[in-house]
């Protein structure tokens, strides 16, 4: 084992100062590039949404003739694709909230059973759950489309809700079981001695202690629901049952070109997620560290 520290070349103070400035400058440049990279498509969305109908194809980088006409049309449902916009927005909301609540409920109950009630081969169930992810969701769309019709749930919001819950739950169970390992079993035991039945243990001990994991998984399920498009599109096709995602896609398949209306719809659709992101971003990021990372 060497007993001397390897020598490093000592250079002039000027070198070090220039080196530091160089590093600072390149970091600033990188930061600027990242900001432009992240914001460019968002700027594009806003620019098109705020353009008048003629300005869309004008080919200018800045706003040629800014107007709020597109937003007015969307909000007042003035265009024939947007006739039921607020109703469909409500449908989207119902889907997002239901997926979140159902995922949390089903996954917490399942991981409670596996983790706390000490099923002998509980790990098999968790692994079987993760098997859901072997076949990507978009590949399962065709069978699920057929099956939803067999179940009689076609064009009903619950078909999308159940499909999305199915894809969110395995990961949720995984996170819950990892996080649940940090809650000592002695708490359950003392509750047992006090005469609690499993439902009470679940409700009074497990859920409150799992609160951080619940929030993290809840935001994950929410993200999954509002990023989803294919299942919305396949399973909901009547104007009454459509969500905004499907309505947006109608613009893409049309021959007309009211792109400013489409972008305005896309922006309004993105507003709840962005607002929730700013409110909950600490929890969304915390979900990634649930349980810690070990090499």
């Amino acid at each position: 084992m060497s007993t001397t520290v390897p020598r490093r070349r000592i250079r002039s103070p000027l070198f070090y100062r220039l080196h530091r400035y160089g590093v600072e400058a390149s970091c600033l440049a990188l930061g600027f590039i990242l900001a432009v990279w992240s914001l460019a498509p968002l700027y594009n969305m806003w620019k098109i949404a705020l353009e008048s109908h003629e300005g869309i194809f004008g080919g200018s980088v800045w706003l040629a003739e800014p107007t709020l006409e597109a937003f007015r049309v969307v909000v007042t449902q003035d265009f024939w694709y947007l006739e039921r916009f607020w109703h469909q927005f409500g449908n989207s909301f119902i889907v997002w909230l239901s997926v979140t609540v159902l995922t949390l409920g089903i996954a917490s109950l399942a991981s409670f059973t596996v983790g706390r009630m000490r099923l002998r081969n509980g790990w098999m169930l968790t692994n079987a759950a993760l098997m859901t992810y072997v076949i990507p969701a978009s590949f399962l769309a065709i069978p699920i489309y057929r099956i939803m019709n067999i179940y009689g749930l076609g064009n009903h919001l619950s078909s999308v809700i159940l499909a999305l819950t199915t894809f969110a739950t395995p990961y949720a169970i995984f996170i819950f079981s990892q996080y649940g390992k940090s809650i000592p079993m002695e708490l359950d035991e003392s509750a047992r001695i006090d005469g609690a039945n499993p439902l009470q243990i679940y409700y009074r001990i497990y859920l409150p202690l799992m609160a951080p994991a619940l929030v993290a998984v809840g935001t994950y399920a929410l993200l999954l629901a509002w990023n989803e498009y294919l299942y919305n599109f396949l399973l909901l096709s009547t104007p009454q049952s459509m969500t905004v995602a499907v309505a947006l896609a109608q613009f893409l398949n049309s021959d007309e070109s009211p792109w400013n209306f489409m972008m305005a719809t896309a922006i309004i659709y993105a507003l709840p997620p962005i607002i929730l992101y700013y409110g909950l971003r600490r929890y969304m990021a915390a979900g990634l560290t649930m349980g810690g990372v070990k090499g």
């Binding site: 390897p6 490093r8 970091c27 930061g31 990242l34 900001a35 992240s38 460019a40 498509p41 700027y43 594009n44 620019k47 098109i48 080919g59 200018s60 980088v61 089903i106 399942a110 409670f112 596996v114 009630m117 000490r118 099923l119 759950a129 098997m131 859901t132 992810y133 072997v134 076949i135 990507p136 978009s138 590949f139 065709i142 069978p143 099956i147 159940l162 199915t166 739950t169 035991e189 499993p198 990023n227 498009y229 294919l230 947006l248 893409l252 792109w259 972008m263 896309a266 659709y269 962005i274 929730l276 992101y277 971003r281 990021a285 990634l288 649930m290 810690g292 990372v293 070990k294 090499g295």
Partner: protein, 305 residues
Amino acid sequence: MSATHQALPLARGPAVTRSWRPPWRRGLRGSDVTWAIAFFIPYGVVFLAFVAYPIVYGLWLGSDPALYANLFDDPRYKITVINTLLLAGVGVNLKMFVAFLLSGFFLRKERWIKPLLVLFMLPWALPALSAYISLHWMFIGYGGFLNSALDMLFGVDGPIWFNSYWLAMGINILAYIWKWLPFWTLVFLAGRLAIPQEIYEAAEVDGASGLRRFAFVTFPLLANLYLVSVLLSTLWTVGDFMAPYLVSSGAPALHTLVLATYGYRIAFDHGYPTMGLAAMLSALPVLIPLALLLMRRLQASEVQL
């Protein structure tokens, strides 16, 4: 705990036939079994109804060998497979590499790093539909934002992006990376934060420069997380539908389809669902080994995502 242990033999009397075990080591008994079943039923039903049945049904639908013969005869299928491999291979690896580097960047201490991170996370928060629609419109030739910007900044006439196969594939990959880079950067950032600072300080005391600290401390500790992330992301990307569908929409002339969009097109636009399913199932020989490898790595190393 020890008090009860001592008290118990006295309470039970001399005729103890079984050694006493703590309650939580016994299996479930009595009413507990009913509760366990009741708690597990919701997930069990969901799994059987929406995972097991569709998978079995899908495998049955796509089990006709004639379908696969037809599939391999279709020249578009070969291009589709190449596209899927490109998207998964280039997209995932480029994204992971950049995410890994950026995670180190975002650990810097300047004041503007935190706000920049919040801004950088925006693509992750934006719904994929809105994001991909906007990206598609940035690149269309007639009045698209990117060509206007190129014209303004450099006086250059940008190409018609979606008329060239390579440009269109490149844009698909770019859009996909744009959407998912923040998420993986955050994953690696969390991984880096889990490395105790003392290790770095010890390395510095031993005379390690920045590059050596990276090579001998950061990289070995994050290698497993990196591998698991790449595997998981590849699984997800092979089935990615939205980016190729919305951004390039198969342009030019259906040359940039991937397996998901190709299968969807055959199933729903051409009304031939069994063949569409067969196209998607043809990816299973790649997906299943990946998934098994992933599960083995997850169990072996206790990496949590």
